[in-house]
Amino acid sequence: MAVEAQVPYQEAIEVHHPHSWITKYWFSQDHKVIAIQYGITAIGVGLVALALSALMRLQLGFPDTFDFIDPEAYYQFITMHGMIMVIYLLTALLLGGFGNYLIPLMCGARDMVFPFVNMISYHVYFLSVIVLLASYFVPGGPTGAGWTLYPPQAILEGTPGVDWGILTMLGSLAIFIVAFTMGGLNYVTTILQARTRGMTLMRMPLSVWGIFMATVLGLLAFPALFVSAIMMLLDKTIGTSFFMPAISSIGETLDYSGGSPLLFQHLFWFFGHPEVYIVALPAFGIVSDLISTHARKNIFGYRMMVWAIVAIGVLSFIVWAHHMYVSGMHPWFGFFFATTTLIIAVPTAIKVYNWTLTLWRANIHLTVPMLFAIAFVITFVMGGITGLFLGNVIVDVPLSDTYFVVAHFHMVMGVAPILVIFGAIYHWYPKMTGKMLNDTLGHIHFWVTFLGTYIIYYPMHYLGFVGVPRRYFANGDMAIIDSSVEMLNQTITVAALIVGIFQAVFIWNLIYSYFRGKDSGHNPWKATTLEWQTPETPPRHGNWEDKKLPTVHRWAYDYSVPGEEDDFVPQTAPQTGSQPAT
């Protein structure tokens, strides 16, 4: 039914134009500046995590070679690498970075609904990063409890960083959640309440849908992490026993009694599983837009895609304990959680089919963003299928805590979203800076990253099958370890170092193109969505012309429409009447 056009509240808002350097680039309230701040911080801290993974690989590939890596340091690398990658890089970059940049532009808003809160959100996030990195400068160094921070071991003697590292880690997480909440409330409210005229929810680009659902998941799932972080802080500092049972440590009976370590695992994964989709859903959305734009074809099954995103979001709250099959939880839970886990594969598979069908007989342009998008689909299928293995209790039990699990989650929620992030940066960099990224460097970066990750993670599945346990500092002379493991570990390490070093090509490309890149024009990819229709590139503070927001007349995927002159029709182009309305 026709929707009566209401006047968007933002139409009349005057945006305040800052003049000093500080208010323009540091304490800016412009969502685009905040997005880039989030992006740079996240990539910066991500490079730290990348360096940590290189150190871990050095140890695994060539044990007994590097004196400065002892078991303690190794566990600290694991913990910091995992936590940084999942929370401070992926969550922050996809939601704080792309969410901030794309939501107002793609919805046709001037800015987030509360720009001031948005600004604070970034600076609190920055603080959380500082507190996290401070772990390396406190006595004892960062915690080595593993990124899941399971008690009781996380706060007992013998775990590295038990004195200070665990405190900075938990504190940093709590601060991050505050930052995320301030940002997330803005994203959700902007999408729900501040779209432009004609922009219905079912006309939104899938990027916005993915980011929206992921933010909702974040707002509802991070509380569980917040609560468990607070309770563990109390256990550690004032000696409560929420998670700590009666226990003796190094021959000494401790004062704890009656707490439940399983409670922590449940709360953690009640957050942790939605977290997987907080990372995945924005990637799903963005990759849909990349594929559609660069294949010059409308996305196949748009409504199905939207409902799949919603269904995945809902289901992600009832699958959490599939991370806990070997934890000693209630034996009935295995059946329940295996079932829900396999059900969630259905909407996910729908999305994969739809991406494939979008590519089917499309006018595919193998641009760098498109290469990354296709690489994502392949990698995601790989990781997803191994996820079905691990979702079944009976298969999971022998594979638990082996390299099979490491390979699975790195494929599905490590490499796959990172590939999308690369693709998205190659895609939107022209809008952010007005310059194209260098194509040759992009191709080099893509092929090394894509092929390299397969050399890294394919063998890990095999390592898991032959029983190599994860999180081990060194395998030593264990009889169960096959002789092939050593050679494979060395291969993986070499590949990982090469891939890691080649990320410098990407960083260099970002810097080089900013100064020397080709001018991109307003719409280099000939895309339909609103962010490419701004009057200026990069868009100014306020995004659109004064007192005038764009009006949306169609969905975001009018590519190669028969009878149209161009092979794309922007969302702002009025319907001509001959076509069916969408």
Binding site: M1, A2, V3, A5, Q6, P8, Y9, V113, F114, T181, G184, L185, N186, V188, T189, L192, Q193, A194, R195, T196, R197, G198, M199, T200, L201, M202, R203, L219, L220, A221, F222, P223, A224, F226, V227, S228, I230, M231, L234, I238, G239, T240, S241, F242, D255, S257, G258, G259, S260, L263, H266, L267, F270, V552, A581
Partner: protein, 221 residues
């Protein structure tokens, strides 16, 4: 779009299918406050779930809250006397808050500000009584976060954590109310309208709402 059929006649479907905004006529601040409260609901429920879990799993006796929180009045121990008073105070503050919202929308900013100040004062007295309750528990009953003489140590841990977190919410609410009341009094919202009073009210009622659950699950269970 297609012709109106079945579902599309429903107002809720119509709203979700609309452009510009889903919650028609709802100011941004109010939408954002509702979503924040939803998120906060998850925080408090996680706390209460943790409490449920440690209480159900402990094999030590759980102290009887009815006795622990009894207060002597005229020489007779009355169970939960202070808690009852605190509950009534918080409900009353919710009532005054609701009336402040009403006055705000009638653009009677004097009474609105006054009612908000009364709400804040009631809230402050709630926090004061909580401080008294904590003191009594710590000094007289010997309850500590890490243990107590009556049984399961989780009794003290969950009590201090949950009521403490709720108390922080009340304290933050008192400050929030005071600031908004001052601005209402100064006439700052004359032009843009008095939605802010309702938004503040939502937060305050939520704090009251949480207390309803804490009262039932912690003190009465």
């Amino acid at each position: 779009m297609a012709e109106a059929t079945g579902l599309r006649n429903l107002q809720v479907v119509d709203d979700w299918a609309a452009d510009v905004e889903v919650f028609r006529g709802v100011p941004w601040g109010k939408a954002m406050m509702w979503i924040f409260l939803l998120s906060d609901t998850f925080i408090f429920t996680c706390f209460l779930t943790a409490y449920m879990t440690v209480r159900m799993t402990t094999s030590e006796p759980w102290p009887n809250p009815s006795e622990v929180f009894a207060l002597e009045a005229f020489g007779v121990p009355v169970p939960l006397l202070l808690i009852a008073i605190m509950t009534f105070i918080l409900i009353t503050s919710s009532g005054t808050m609701a009336m402040a919202v009403n006055m705000g929308y009638r653009r009677r900013r004097g009474p609105a500000a006054l009612l908000m100040v009364i709400t804040a004062l009631l809230g402050a007295s709630f926090v004061g009584m909580q401080a008294f309750e904590w003191t009594k528990l710590i000094m007289d009953e010997g309850v500590r976060p890490w243990g107590n003489p009556m049984g399961a140590p989780q009794f003290g841990s969950t009590f201090f954590m949950i009521t403490g977190f709720h108390g922080l919410h009340v304290s933050a609410g008192v400050v929030y109310l005071a600031v908004v009341a001052w601005r209402v009094w100064r006439g700052r919202y004359e032009k843009q309208g008095y939605d802010i009073v309702e938004i503040t009210g939502l937060y305050w009622h939520f704090v009251d709402l949480v207390w309803v659950f804490i009262f039932a699950f912690f003190y009465l269970w």
